[in-house]
């Protein structure tokens, strides 16, 4: 069915969980509308939570796709891959792509997610680290870690700890350099932390508290004949491994929204209906900070279920609704009766 001549053009930036769910809901709610997804990725939507599978030998990108290409054709959702958004002009309702193309929108949903945050003090060592936020990065990381190899995991957020479970299971050695972000996005009290660290050690992860070693001084390439990477601590102790992988939580991808007329603090600031301060612009997923009336602050909500629910809610509100955000999952981290860490962040379909 062709789009009606005066149908609205809904543009979604980001093809992750939130963006893809939003596109699907928009298609359901407005059958006549044009729906376009702009994504930086060269792949169609795949589930980031499946990425640890690369260490089990699954490297074929087709295995990771959530939907076949026909799905988008059948749903008349246009996916523009490898499209880097350079800027958004809110008042003119246009998106400028890096290759100078302009796209007009009637409504815009920003669901660009977050990229792996690397603390600024470690930024200069970026070329020596293997992040794990996308399929390409996951495959690159898996390629450099040999069988039963040693992975040094810095920070260790819940994405990293999920990977650690797989790595231990696949007989890799994992050393976690723990710090304030070890259980990100969970907020863990000083009383809870020792029990959770002990549970990680019981799981088979070696844990070094970064603060005990004075913090990381540098990351270096290992000398010939030694492991590929050396992490040097400020107390002059050192650690050798095959790969150094940073896991310090996510940093919202909002740079392209600067100057768009929408309010930004760390992420895009949205009201409970996920509407930004820019006319016709919504946000969903890891990129947005939602106003919480109960807590009297803007805050992020993470986890697959939350992100999907945000995509769905934003789309319903774009299509004329005005429903407020209600979290879709519990945020509490705990240790199960089997002594293992249980995180709602790891629950996905």
């Amino acid at each position: 069915m062709a789009n009606a001549k005066n149908a609205r053009h809904h543009v979604v930036i980001g093809s992750g969980v939130a963006g893809s769910q939003a596109a699907e809901t928009l298609r359901e709610r407005e059958p006549e509308a044009r729906v376009t997804i702009l994504t930086l990725s060269s792949l169609l939507f795949y589930n980031r939570y499946d990425l640890p599978k690369v260490f089990r030998g699954h490297r074929d990108w087709r295995e990771f796709l959530a939907f076949p290409a026909e799905y988008y054709k059948d749903h008349r959702i246009v996916v523009r891959r490898c499209s880097r958004v350079a800027g958004v002009d809110g008042p003119r309702r246009t998106i400028a792509l890096e290759h100078k193309e302009e796209i007009r929108f009637d409504t815009l949903l920003v669901a660009s997610g977050g990229r792996g945050y690397i603390p600024e003090e470690l930024a200069e060592f970026r070329p020596l680290m293997h992040p794990f936020a996308s399929y390409t990065e996951a495959v690159s990381a898996a390629a450099v870690v040999p069988e039963r190899g040693h992975v040094i995991m810095l920070g260790g957020d819940m994405i990293g700890l999920d990977l650690a479970r797989t790595l231990v299971d696949t007989r890799h050695r994992v050393t976690l350099v723990a710090g304030p972000q070890t259980f990100w996005p969970h907020e863990v009290t000083d009383d809870e932390r020792p029990g959770l660290i002990a549970a990680l050690e019981k799981m088979g992860v070696e844990v070094i508290e970064s603060a005990d070693a004075g913090g990381i001084a540098s990351i270096e390439q290992g000398a010939r004949g030694l492991s590929a990477r050396r992490v040097l601590f400020k107390d002059r102790t050192e650690l050798y491994g095959d790969a150094v992988m940073p896991f310090f939580g996510l940093s919202p991808s909002v740079e392209f929204m600067l100057g768009s007329g929408t309010d930004i603090e760390r992420g895009l600031l949205v009201n409970p209906a996920l509407r930004t301060t820019g006319e016709g612009i919504w946000a969903a997923g890891d990129v947005c900070q939602i106003w919480s009336d109960a807590e009297k602050r803007y805050r992020f909500y993470y986890g697959w279920k939350n992100v999907r629910a945000m995509g769905d809610l934003a789309a319903r509100n774009i299509a004329g609704g005005d429903e407020p955000w209600v979290p879709a999952q519990d945020e509490k981290l705990h240790i199960g009766s089997d002594g293992k860490i249980q995180s709602p962040f790891w629950e996905y379909e």
Binding site: A86, G87, D89, A96, K100, P119, E120, E121, A123, E124, A217, S218, L258, D263, I264, E265, R266, L269, T277, W291, K296, R297, Y298
Partner: protein, 600 residues
Amino acid sequence: MGDIKPPSGAAGAPAAGQREYFSDDPRDIGWVKQNVPCQTACPAGTNVPVYIREIIERQFGRSYETNREANVLPGVLGRICSRPCESQCRHGWPGNGEPVAICHLKRVAADMKDAGHRITERLYSPTGKRVAIVGAGPAGVAAAHDLSLLGHDVVIFEREERAGGMLRYGIPEFRLPRDTLDIELHNALRLGVQVRTGAEIGNGAGQIPMTKLEKEFDAVLLATGCMAASPLPLAGEWEKRELRGLEGVEYGLDFLVQMHRGVKKVVGKRVAVVGAGFTALDCARVAARLGAQEVTIHIRTAEEYIPVTQEEIFEAKREGVRIKGLRTPVGLTVEGNRLTGIEFVQNRLGGWRAGGRRQAIPIEGSEFHEPCDTLIVAIGQQTVNDFLGTKLELDRWGNVRVGEDGMTSHKGIFAAGDYVNGASTVIQAVGHGRKVAKRIDAWLMGRERRRQVVRIVPVEQPLRERAFDFIPRQHMPVAPLGERMKDGAHEVELGLDEKLAFEEAKRCYLCNLRYQIDVDRCIFCRACIEVAPRNCIKLVRGVEVNDDGAYGKLLETKEWNQVGAIWIDNNECIRCGQCFKACPVQCISISRCELTEVEV
């Protein structure tokens, strides 16, 4: 909107065979102001495209002198300028990429000029007039330099032991090495300016009264800056409490000034800095160097809206400083007389305030507490007027009110820099100091001695290549963390090397180049339109003329029977030179247009 004129022989088009000439045509002056946004944005009016072009030609000394014509402290400003030029740079406009690193290139000119480089100064014969300047900060020094060139005898009275004002006492050495500051101050003041340090103006014992200056000098310029820290407004029981004297609480400006006077400063393990400007960032970075384990800057709005450069924010974060937004302090928690934490209220973003800053609106009932053992308050600075024996009119912010001529309400007393404008930036202070110096000269001499014109120089061929447009912004090399944190004097930014500088300089569009089509010779072949990389060459039926005489909006048309000319829209033009090369009848000319001054 003014008249509409048909396009015709444009102002500034050089006549055949003409080499260089000066124009006071408002269309030419307006053209430069509209088309060279970096120079227009610079409070000192620095001729940016020319000094960058001179770097491309590897004439670093000449580039330094071009800078000095507008700003006597290029090496200093090349390190610590707030860079209003870069936010206006055409290369940073939507779709054009990132702005040129204008400030870093200024430093290149200063760092790479030859040792023993010859300074050029335009000296006037002595006038016999004497001018006293109070304050040896950037405004006072800039004014002293210009007034001494104009032949006046200048004496600066400075209360501190050394000249430099905020540059020396407010900016940490890791951002501004003192040898650079000393050399440039010396160069600025060595043309007969007397600097009397340790000389405080006031009515107390050992101080010099203003009345004495009025008596002994033909004019007095007040340039004492904003040297009092603004108090932190708190609520409830803290509303009227004096924070000075509380253990663990410091005012940022005092903290830096005392440190630079040689007082040993100590901070706690957990330091909170409240404020969003360069002083707040400097205090936080100093605290990190003094051994604080956790340093957090608390801001009312968000990082996007604070008036410091992204590079400064990034380097501060690399040093371990964290920034937390959307919060306003409303109270403190103490044990006895010792600080233990800060009570904040959560904010939401409001509209825009005058001056381009965002408003923060506190949310009722959203108070929260953050523990800390040192609080540094750096929310702004104010002027101090108690040294004045003479009563001067003040504005509602307590700053001295001046007229168009820079004179206060008291005849013969002028004021410049932050002392008039409130806390601003170094480049604003330099620019204002120069401007007021010119007005003092006019008042002393009874006439303007210099006036602004446009120097127009024909250029034979494009100076840029299209490939230059795709060079990414070159990043400033910085000292490794381990080295820079060892002491407070290790400079963080290392300066661009020659290769990086050359690459960065090539990125400049050279907006002072004016491309024009000679309508009488144009054959309307459209070749220029075909090769233009942007929508920069237009079919027009006319051009609006602004009230100041400058050309305004182009009146475009798509109807051939209405086309009066093919016109280069210099606002869109990125000076790539493609049109010039494509034109089969050479009807496109290029001229370099620069604002300059000539004798009246």
